[in-house]
Amino acid sequence: MNKEWPLWEVFIRSKAGLHHQHVGSLHAADSEMALENARDVYTRRQEGVSIWVVQSNSIIASNPEENTSFFDPAEDKIYRHPTFYELPDELKHM
């Protein structure tokens, strides 16, 4: 047999209330092992309270060559930001 253990991406919630964040990857033969390996590799210093693992080949990624059509059109939509709207000086908070 010449199969390698598949690659998994690891996401960790560092404390309650925060998003899971991508921290890295590792190899494991199955999902159980991926979770355990993630615990042993990425939380040795109490870095997390929750772990997600997902097989790397299940991730669908955008293509950097299409970045201009994907992301540039948002650039001129300044009306989506609060600074677009002027407030009277006497109004302190809104």
């Binding site: 047999m1 199969k3 033969a29 199955d30 092992m33 590799v41 950097p64």
Partner: protein
């Protein structure tokens, strides 16, 4: 090179010049990719092979406190190897391919690990000097232009910070101990000093990959700059320990604001790189035994079990 490629390459270099990180799916010149795969996998192998000379002493550590500290440290090296293999894998190589290259003797790793750890003081000296040298390189690499490599280095640097301290602390205990212990510490410094200086690689004039790597901002400081930084930092630490750096030419140069140091024996360096160090054969033998003879059937079993389990889960649903 086609006009399109030229254009890509110009855009690529412009990003680098603007300090924009390159990510895995971004276009990059083949040579950049190859350089990174070579450097990152070499770096990963160094972590993994580096576990051997230090792991050597875990069962013989002189106290339980030292034993646990050393084991945690060597375990970190495994983690660092793993982060680096992962970074290299984003460039289209696989862990298995990199392991094969190591086991077949085709891939390099840091030559320092071909020297033997023969006394407990060597564990102190390796932590203090070898990790001390490595961390200068690694801090520089946290700003390297390739995103996944830079992020791995940030994580590694955070974890490494205790390694050099642990080494220095071991040396401190020895130097404050009996005459025999202090002699052990001096002997370790004598043997590890010059190989540590060699860790930064050939001098700038001789280094074949350096110039392009600086343009690509894979590296940001030259070998000689880092080596000088290491010498300057370490001399004072040796004074605190009260042991002598084995270099009669070592002296402070007021004008330069740096220490001058003696000539490095590059013949020895190249001999060890070529496989003729004391432990080259032992290291490869140990790696092959771990990964192939004693390891392959274990990894295969886990794959076979995962496949059976998946089949069973499917037939349960059906």
């Amino acid at each position: 090179m086609t006009a399109k490629e030229k254009n890509f390459e110009a855009l690529f270099q412009a990003k680098i010049d603007q300090e924009i990180k390159i990510e895995a799916k971004d276009w990059m010149p083949d040579a950049y990719r190859k350089t990174l795969v070579r450097q990152i996998s070499q770096h990963a192998h160094s972590e993994i092979v580096g576990m051997l000379p230090e792991g050597n002493w875990i069962t013989r550590a002189p106290s339980l406190r030292r034993k646990i500290g050393l084991l945690a440290k060597v375990q970190d090296e495994a983690g660092h190897g793993l982060y680096l293999y992962s970074a290299a894998e984003t460039l289209g190589t696989t862990r298995g391919q990199m392991m094969d290259a190591l086991n077949e003797g085709k891939a390099k790793y840091s030559s320092i690990f071909n020297y033997p750890t023969i006394t407990w003081a060597d564990i102190g000296a390796v932590g203090w000097l070898v990790d001390g040298a490595a961390i200068l390189n690694q801090v520089m690499l946290t700003r390297t232009s390739y995103g996944p490599y830079a992020r791995a280095m940030v994580r590694i640097c955070k974890e490494e910070s205790f390694h050099q301290r642990q080494g220095f602390d071991i040396m401190m205990s020895l130097c404050n101990g009996t005459a025999e212990q202090k002699a052990m510490a001096q002997d370790a410094l004598n043997r590890w000093w010059w190989p540590s200086l060699m860790m930064f690689g050939p001098s700038d004039a001789e280094s074949q990959h350096s110039e392009q790597s600086m343009i690509w901002k894979i590296k940001r400081k030259s070998n000689d700059t880092l080596r000088q930084q290491f010498v300057d930092a370490t001399v004072d630490q040796a004074k605190i320990l009260g042991i002598t750096i084995p270099d009669p030419d070592l002296s402070w140069n007021e004008e330069k604001g740096h220490y001058d140091f003696g000539a490095i024996d590059w013949d020895e360096f190249w001999q060890v790189v070529k496989g003729n160090g004391i432990c080259n054969r032992d290291r490869l033998k140990a790696r092959r035994a771990a990964y192939i003879t004693n390891g392959k059937w274990v990894r295969d079993a886990a794959i076979a079990y995962a496949e059976k389990k998946q089949q069973r889960d499917i037939s349960k649903v059906a």
